[in-house]
């Protein structure tokens, strides 16, 4: 036997370095956004993004919109 050691891929493609964008709609809660996504305001200006995973307000009463501050839990917001 000689030559290069075969590399087992284990099936499928290797993951990209940057995580694929995903949005998780949390039951009775915010939208969790992961991956390479730019969040902008209505004028197209990027909204500062301080963490890899962010939660976008879905109930409308967050004091730090567009991000979630947990207030949905205090107002009985449901997505059902």
């Amino acid at each position: 036997m000689s030559g290069a050691v075969p590399v087992s891929s284990g099936g499928g493609l290797p993951p990209r370095a940057v995580r694929e964008p995903t949005i998780v709609a949390c039951p009775d809660g915010p939208l969790l956004v992961r991956g390479d996504v730019t969040i902008t305001d209505a004028d197209g200006q990027p909204v500062p993004r301080r963490r890899a995973t962010v939660a976008l307000c879905r109930c409308g009463v967050s004091t730090i919109k567009p991000y979630c501050d947990g207030t949905h839990k205090a107002i009985g917001f449901t997505t059902a």
């Binding site: 809660g29 963490r51 890899a52 995973t53 939660a55 501050d69 947990g70």
Partner: protein, 334 residues
């Protein structure tokens, strides 16, 4: 300074040149005697300080104390006696939700229900509306015992988890540690808040000032974090911690703004309003929920860990509020 026979024995041992592994002074026996006689382990200063010191050897240790003590069999034996007593104490008192099935969403729902915001007096509301500058200082001093090592006790669980729960815990903890930016690590932000308020931000600076009930909250995190058998409780504890954080932190920030503190000082609280609204979603479903689904035998522990977090937070809150309402200090006298 020791607070009774057990902490005296522990501190004596650490300060002695004694050979490791020899129990000439009968430390384990002292631990047994002290825990058996204790009327309430969670408010027992001697017991909680002893446990705090023994656990601290696993974090940053103590200046002038040999790191070998971390795995000293005598200390571990005495610690085990205290831990078993504490576990029993909690099991007899902490109300744990029942009727929960080990499925991801069911567990997350149960945890969100357990931690749902409640009306009525709370430390957060008091801080927001009424706390004096001195009381704000007290608040930071209590919090400093954990917040200057924020996230560390739960990090112990990472190697003990697999798959989705592990990834979820890493995702949360990475954010706790500032996403790799040293200046944004949460414990660094807390140190900044302490400096902004004119307090000593040195690790452990205020241990002597905090009562047993404050130490108990941190000790239970270490108890859960340092034992593989309690990995479910660690997951539940973290989920509960995150779920009871965003809304109070907004109020804490309000209290400091009310006293005119700048944005650098309130950064820690503002950061937690946003961060923990993310973390609670991950911790509820991807950590605790997914763990219960993949290891159903851990369900009870997950719920116990969460309920214990809530229970201890309640005890500590009652202590602080009753002192403040009576216009006395919630700290120990210097």
């Amino acid at each position: 300074m020791p607070r009774g026979p057990l902490s005296l024995a522990v501190l004596d041992l650490l300060g002695s040149g004694r050979v490791h592994g020899t129990d000439g002074a009968g430390l384990t026996e002292t631990a047994r005697r002290v825990t058996e006689r204790s009327t309430d382990l969670l408010t027992d200063d001697d017991v909680q300080l002893s446990l705090y010191v023994m656990y601290e050897l696993f974090y940053r240790g103590f200046e002038g104390v040999d790191d070998e003590w971390e795995w000293d069999p005598v200390l571990l034996s005495a610690r085990a006696v205290v831990e078993r007593a504490l576990e029993q104490h909690l099991a007899e008192r902490v109300p744990v939700p029942d009727g929960v099935v080990p499925q991801r969403d069911a567990v997350a729902d149960a945890l969100f229900a357990l931690t749902a915001p409640t009306p009525g007096p709370s430390v957060a509301r008091y801080v927001a509306k009424r706390a004096s500058l001195e009381q704000l200082h007290e608040f930071l001093i209590h919090r400093s015992i954990y917040q200057l090592k924020e996230a560390d006790p739960h990090t112990w669980a990472i190697p003990r988890l697999l798959g989705q729960p592990k990834a979820a815990l890493v995702e949360i903890q990475a954010d706790e540690y500032g996403g790799g930016d040293p200046g944004r690590m949460h414990y660094e932000l807390f140190a900044r808040t302490m400096r902004g308020a004119g307090l000593d931000d040195q690790y452990g600076a205020y241990v002597e000032r905090v009562p047993a009930v404050t130490l108990a909250g941190v000790n239970v995190m270490s108890l859960f974090g340092l034992h593989r058998r309690w990995r479910g409780a660690t997951a539940g504890h973290l989920a509960c911690f995150e779920m009871t954080s965003s809304l109070p932190n907004r109020l804490y920030g309000d209290g400091f703004r009310r006293h005119g503190f700048d944005q650098g000082t309130t950064w820690y609280f503002d950061e937690h309003v946003e961060a923990d609204a993310v973390h609670e979603q991950i911790a509820g479903r991807d950590l605790a929920g997914a763990l219960a689904q993949s290891e159903p035998e851990l369900l009870e522990d997950i719920l116990f860990g969460a309920a214990t977090c809530l229970y201890l937070d309640g005890l500590a809150g009652d202590h602080v509020l009753s002192a403040w309402e009576a216009d006395v200090s919630s700290l120990r006298l210097p």
